[in-house]
Symmetry: C2
Subunit: 354 residues, 2 copies
């Protein structure tokens, strides 16, 4: 360990590049920055993410943090330009760029990676040293990657506070196709059906449709690059879904309750496979619903009362349904603490239902 | 107004029936309760939702709150048994039960309705007088419903604190097919694809897949009744989605970026049509992300600090990604208040990124 001494060159000072710079600077690693936009470099530098790369730089590690379409080209440039450096990238797909790099000189010094951090925001100003805290960070060596290069990239993930998860580029792409790309596309299809809806129909929208469609609000230009870059893995899943979709349609059309029930049960089983907080198995939780006047201060008072009851709140959902001047807050807590919390809140005058 | 004097007979003392009883009792309306389970009646009665219906009851209004499969039968029974009463139901589909009732004697006294309230919980103990506060409540007269019956049901919704939305049974079913049934089925298909996923792949799950699949955790036995009961409207939407799904698959397979971009843009446009809080047009909001140690009290301290800054919090999301011992809280606030909140929280020692 502690092979990573720097300097680390970050190519691309958007959200991810700037956040990596900030996280490394907090650990006293020297960080150099480059970007096609000198303005972005100045901003990231001003935030304390590093300083502009000099012409004679000799980085130990290059982190390529550019949009998917430019990844392979920028990794190749880095391998050529810095013949002693290990090179990684933080792109959301791994096999495609690797295939484009096939046969490139020095490829044993390249190890792909992918921190599972938010993509809805962008730009250096959105950067944060805490962005990767405790997040999974896929480290994806290819067949020819050296072990030294792989450890250095693993150490990068650790220095940024993330949990490195080693897998092959192919495994990675299959994993994100299932946990990110497919959900995104299906959310897009559901949300797309709202475009032509009569306004009166949308008045019946509840929290369900909001949750299902939220990710579809993401930047189309970014997803237009991500999906084709993971074409094969996404297509394989779309084929699986197509098969189930046809079964679903037939079950609804033919009122085949057994077939419909089987699909519904499969869906519920799937929701239970998503890992719980901190990667542990999901703990049983219960929801406590509290009526809440919609003005500043009430939420603070509610959380203070919950805190005084010494109950840890695992999740919060505020009900945004139209027309509620009195809102509803859902507090998700450990199953064994729900009764205690309910009692405590009722004792403090809140209107609670379990 | 104020035609509804009672007594109101509630048939079925589950979540919705008990909540209606509680809401009406809070307005001093006499409420009678019946259920196939005497235990449920005793529980609902003990909660203050009304008292067991006597044999010689002469209700002004009967509210049928039973599972979808039993709706038409129970509405017919109520029309026969109480020849002076107006009869409504609170089922989640409207055309199917009406068709089953076609030609029934006294049908002019029946007006369907549907409060847009949660269905994930069940049973009388989950009931609350506040369940309907400010929620849309569809009131769906059929062609032969009398105006007097329609007003009485509208008044029921108002007395329960809801916002009545008048539409035809057919409009209602099309609206919920789009805003509830289709999102549910698509979430089921996405969640179903997690069943066969290798555990290592699921380690990369983020908040996106959790949101998209959440509703798929609902009770399969209930949805097995709801979907077939709205067969035609759901099928029409499944056909639309099928068409888009085929276009999507072709766009991904052929790397047709223009076609893919069009579908992604349509999805984003759809997310923006969902009405904002209190039925108003969505106001522009911004998210402020705050790092938060994962133990009791920190959330209370955060909300107290936000409250002292006099910023109203529109929504809250707690990041549940595996491995974060320091969690991340997203505070959604009015766009114009975000900078002020950020400054205030940083001043109180919080680690914030915009």
């Amino acid at each position: 360990m502690s092979e990573l001494r720097g300097p680390v060159l970050v190519v691309g000072t958007g959200l991810l590049g700037t956040s990596i710079g900030l996280a490394l600077r907090a650990r006293d690693v020297d960080v150099l920055l480059s970007d096609v936009s000198p303005e972005h470099v100045r901003t990231a530098s001003g935030l304390g993410a590093g300083h502009a790369v000099p012409d004679d730089a000799d980085p130990q590690l290059v982190v390529v943090a550019v949009p998917p379409d430019l990844l392979a080209e920028q990794v190749a440039d880095a391998l050529d330009h810095y013949p002693h450096a290990v090179v990684t990238d933080v792109g959301s797909v791994k096999s495609g760029p690797l295939a484009q790099l096939d046969g490139h000189h020095g490829l044993e010094r390249y190890v792909g990676s992918h921190p599972m951090a938010g993509t809805e925001r962008s730009g250096p100003l959105a950067g944060s040293a805490a962005l990767f805290d405790g997040r999974p960070w896929a480290v994806t060596p290819h067949g020819a990657s050296t072990e030294a290069a792989t450890s250095l990239v693993t150490e990068l993930a650790e220095l940024c506070g993330a949990m490195p998860v080693r897998m092959t580029p192919q495994e990675h792409d299959q994993a994100v196709a299932r946990t990110s790309h497919l959900p995104h596309l299906m959310a897009v299809l559901v949300a797309g059906r709202l475009v032509e809806a009569p306004e009166a129909h949308l008045a019946l929208s509840g929290p369900g449709v909001r949750d299902v469609t939220r990710v579809a609000g993401g930047d189309p230009a970014l997803w237009q690059q991500i999906i084709p870059a993971n074409r094969d893995a996404v297509l394989a899943l779309l084929d699986d879904v197509h098969d189930r979709f046809e079964r679903l349609r037939a079950a609804v059309a033919g009122t085949d309750l057994a077939a419909l029930g089987e699909l519904l049960a499969e869906g519920r089983a799937g929701t239970r496979r998503i890992p719980g907080k901190h990667g542990k198995a999901p703990r049983p939780t219960a929801s406590v619903f509290v009526a809440l006047p919609d003005h500043p201060g009430e939420l603070a008072r509610l959380f203070a009362d919950a805190s005084n009851a010494e109950v840890n709140i695992e999740d919060v959902r505020i009900d945004h349904d139209p027309g509620r001047e009195v809102g509803q807050v859902e507090l998700v807590v450990d199953l064994e603490r729900a009764a205690h919390l309910t009692e405590a809140l009722v004792g403090r005058g809140w209107t609670v239902h379990a």
